[in-house]
């Protein structure tokens, strides 16, 4: 009987030490990892929120949302102010150079939108998704509401609108 108690005690110590060591190293390295993960995205996110917000990576792999690349939390004064989705869709320019954009979702509405890459779109038509005209269609509409595409640039704007719909679906599932 004594052997069993001795064994149980030894195991408790091993488990405790192992758990403590792991959480200690985690607390030590997690901020650095978060910092590195967000660093590459920071200069993009600053285009949408530029008065000193913090950003945090929430998720970067989406099993059943093919066009979503990442979702980031915008933290202002310690609380999460908004979520930003990064989408990458195949526009008119083909899959080799996709359209990459950011869309911000804040208290029930799309509050921000910017295009990071749209190099292969035909200038004057496809590139109109970068102009204020398309942005006004998006900013202000409710999350999940219908966003109308640009007449004359339906291919590119349709792809972006569908990806925004996916982002809204993911948002309603995870953060609502």
């Amino acid at each position: 009987m004594k052997k069993v108690i001795q064994m149980a005690l030894f195991l408790a110590i091993v488990a405790g030490l192992s758990g403590a060591a792991l959480s200690f190293v985690y607390n030590l390295t997690d901020p650095i990892i978060q910092e590195a993960a967000i660093a590459s995205e920071k200069e993009n996110l600053v285009q949408l929120y530029s008065n000193g917000e913090e950003f945090k990576v929430v998720e970067t792999n989406f099993g059943d949302y093919p066009t979503l690349q990442g979702v980031y939390e915008v933290i202002k004064g310690g609380s999460v102010k908004a979520h930003v989705y990064k989408g990458s869709v195949t526009g008119y320019g083909g899959a080799s150079s996709p359209i990459v954009f950011l869309v911000a979702l804040e208290d029930g509405k799309y509050s921000g939108y910017t295009v990071l890459e749209a190099s292969a779109e035909t200038s004057g038509i496809g590139t109109r998704i970068k102009d204020a005209e398309f942005k006004d269609n998006i900013v202000g509409t409710d999350i999940g509401g219908s966003v109308d595409t640009l007449s004359g640039a339906t291919v590119s704007s349709k792809a972006v609108v569908n990806s925004i719909k996916e982002a809204a679906k993911h948002y309603q599932e995870n953060f609502k």
Partner: protein, 190 residues
Amino acid sequence: MGLFSLFIGLCLVNNVVLSKFYAVCPLLGVSKKPKNALNMGYAVTFVIVLASAITYLLYHFVLVPLDIKYLDLITFILVIASLVQFVEMFLKKTSPEIYKAMGVYLPLITTNCAVLGVALDNISSGYNFVESMVAAVAVSVGFTIVIYLYATIRERLEISNVPESYKGIPIALITAGIMACAIAGIAGLV
């Protein structure tokens, strides 16, 4: 991605053993007779599917809510080790003849890279439960196919005249390399 193309992708195209090098040690060490290889395949299939299910559930219902995601590795390896022990005990109690066939290989599976590899891949590629189950079955079917074919080739190797210095493990590795070339041939399938 459709479940079927996921299955074919993991089972044949980027086969776990030949393209990601999971479980090369059992491939070289154990597969002498095709019948043994098949038994090993069944044992690994049984453990991989169970392990993937349990590790997926534990990760998403214990590690994520408690925000201790960094315990994923130790959870997976301990779950796999205890699963192997439970399966061996279960087989010992209920069906001796299955144990006689498969039981020999069970302790080997604890240090089998494929089981842990699949569990970690399911998490890192963001699959949901159904997809990770399909992935687990695909991986284990792929493993069984490769190890069975490999055993039949090695049987013939024993009686063929191999250069002196290539006898044993070197020729086994070259055979595996040629099989990997064959599998790479169907890369465009998915």
